[in-house]
């Protein structure tokens, strides 16, 4: 016997009917690692944190990120970073700056060559991290200090993330056309639904019928 449903899709799946034994608990780690996604709404605006996806590798993470985080509003680019590649500072209070309250040892030897690191700031608790710039450093610690010198004065932040640029999967310039038709998908925008006139003429019709 398979489960009978009002849903024709479900009937096609031939699900077992009746009481089922409980599902075996899934392995503690059944799915995938997480990747953090940053989206750029339009040119010359900073990449902003959008949220995570679960994915087995960066390529698939990009496929997932593109639809989960850039299907609804304008987008000109996407960055994807594996969560464990992001170094996170503690959080400061909203009226403080993390660079004032949190101290990191300056590494003694700075070796060459410098590597590039991307720096993200959280302006206020509850908001989203945005990309603030890039520094060259030989370690996360050094990157933190370089970020402090470069950005702290002008851009106070309650939290900062730093990640090696080479660990950021960036959408390519020539892939921008993937977002080209977004603005045309009007059917998922509230503005596409206008019923005031319809309601008005319906009420008038009703009123007329009453008056008769």
């Amino acid at each position: 016997m398979s489960l009978k449903s009002l849903d024709p899709r479900i009937n096609r799946l031939n699900l077992p009917d009746g009481e089922q034994p409980p599902m075996e608990p899934k392995a503690a780690f059944d799915q995938f690692e997480t990747y953090e996604v940053f989206a750029q709404k339009r040119d010359n605006t900073p990449f902003t944190y959008a949220g995570p996806v679960h994915a087995p590798n960066a390529d698939v993470a990009f496929l997932f990120a593109k639809e989960q985080y850039s299907r609804r509003s304008a987008c000109s680019g996407l960055w994807v970073v594996q969560t464990r590649h992001i170094m996170v500072s503690p959080y400061a209070n909203d009226d403080e700056c993390i660079y004032d309250t949190f101290k990191v040892e300056i590494p003694e030897h700075t070796a060459w060559p410098l590597e590039s690191y991307e720096v993200f700031h959280l302006k206020k608790r509850g908001k989203a991290h945005t990309h603030i710039g890039r520094v060259g450093a030989t370690s996360y610690q050094e990157a933190y200090h370089k970020a402090k010198q470069a950005f702290a004065a002008q851009h106070p932040a309650v939290n900062m993330w730093v990640v090696k640029s080479k660990n950021v999967l960036q959408s390519a310039e020539e892939d921008r056309d993937m977002w080209l038709t977004l603005p045309e998908k009007k059917y998922r925008e509230p503005a596409a639904y206008k019923v005031l006139d319809r309601i008005k003429s319906f009420k008038e019709k009703q009123q007329k019928a009453l008056n008769k």
Binding site: R9, H54, N57, F64, K66, E67, Q68, R71, T181
Partner: protein, 251 residues
């Protein structure tokens, strides 16, 4: 003659997109991974959107409204390949169909973006970016799964083997084939098929999957001119179930 040829072309593209978009939309909420559920739904929406764009071109050539074209014809009046109407099966089956179909679709649209019939060229050019994502999605999945576990590989291989004759049915020749080619409206199915085989082969070569032997396949033809499997009419009945409650009403 030329207009009939153009309509014939538009119908087969629009019907393919509608029927496969409809099938793929059945996955919404049932996918194997939340994120993939979302991605698959987007691509199904794109396909339904593409079909609407092509039905609109047909309407501009004097055919009925898109809603009527999609929701009120019977199976024998549909021009989609049988490939697109087959039930979804499990994820491997839907994924292989997506891979085979969207690679063909990409080539079809690349060619159409140079079509001598301006309205088609415009639509095809505009949709290029969407289809680029579809192909990236399909090929990435096949590359990943196609060289993973034994189970995944054998599932994909079985689906590939059973779908290939249907996939070849996508390239059924139009009765206007030569007119379309001669007038520069369309590159023709043979040209698209050749290119498609090369691209499919390229992706499969990077996996542990084997390309089925093409010359020994019998393509499942007939869909372009109304011969369908037993699955299409029930699909259409389901699609029109609500609209038929009151066909003259606005829903």
């Amino acid at each position: 003659m030329k207009e009939e040829a153009i309509k014939d072309l538009l119908y087969k593209i629009a019907d393919d997109q509608l029927i496969l978009g409809h099938r793929n939309s059945e996955w919404t909420g049932l996918g194997p991974i939340l994120e993939e559920d979302i991605a698959f739904s987007s691509m199904a929406q794109d396909k339904i959107g593409h079909s609407l764009a092509f039905y609109t071109l047909l309407h501009e050539l004097g055919e009925a409204e898109p809603d009527l074209l999609a929701f009120s014809r019977s199976a024998t009046q549909f021009h989609n390949s049988q490939f697109t109407e087959l039930p979804n099966g499990e994820f491997d089956y839907s994924l292989i169909r997506h891979f085979l179909y969207d690679n063909a679709e990409a080539i079809r649209f690349e060619k159409l973006s140079h079509s001598g019939y301006e309205p088609i060229a415009k639509v095809a050019t505009k949709l290029k970016g969407e289809i680029k994502y579809h192909v990236l999605h399909a090929n990435t999945w096949i590359r990943n799964l196609g060289s993973s576990t034994e189970e995944a590989i054998s599932r994909l291989q079985n689906s590939l083997n059973s779908l290939m004759p249907y996939a070849l049915g996508m390239f059924e020749l139009s009765v206007y084939e030569q007119v379309l080619i001669d007038t520069g409206i369309y590159a023709g199915e043979e040209a698209i098929k050749e290119e498609w085989l090369t691209r499919i082969q390229q992706v499969l070569a990077s996996t542990e999957l084997t390309m089925p032997d093409i010359p020994s396949q019998t393509p499942m033809l007939g869909g372009r001119y109304g011969t369908h499997t037993k699955h299409l009419q029930p699909l259409l009945n389901e699609m029109a179930e609500v609209i038929k409650i009151d066909p003259t009403a606005e829903w």
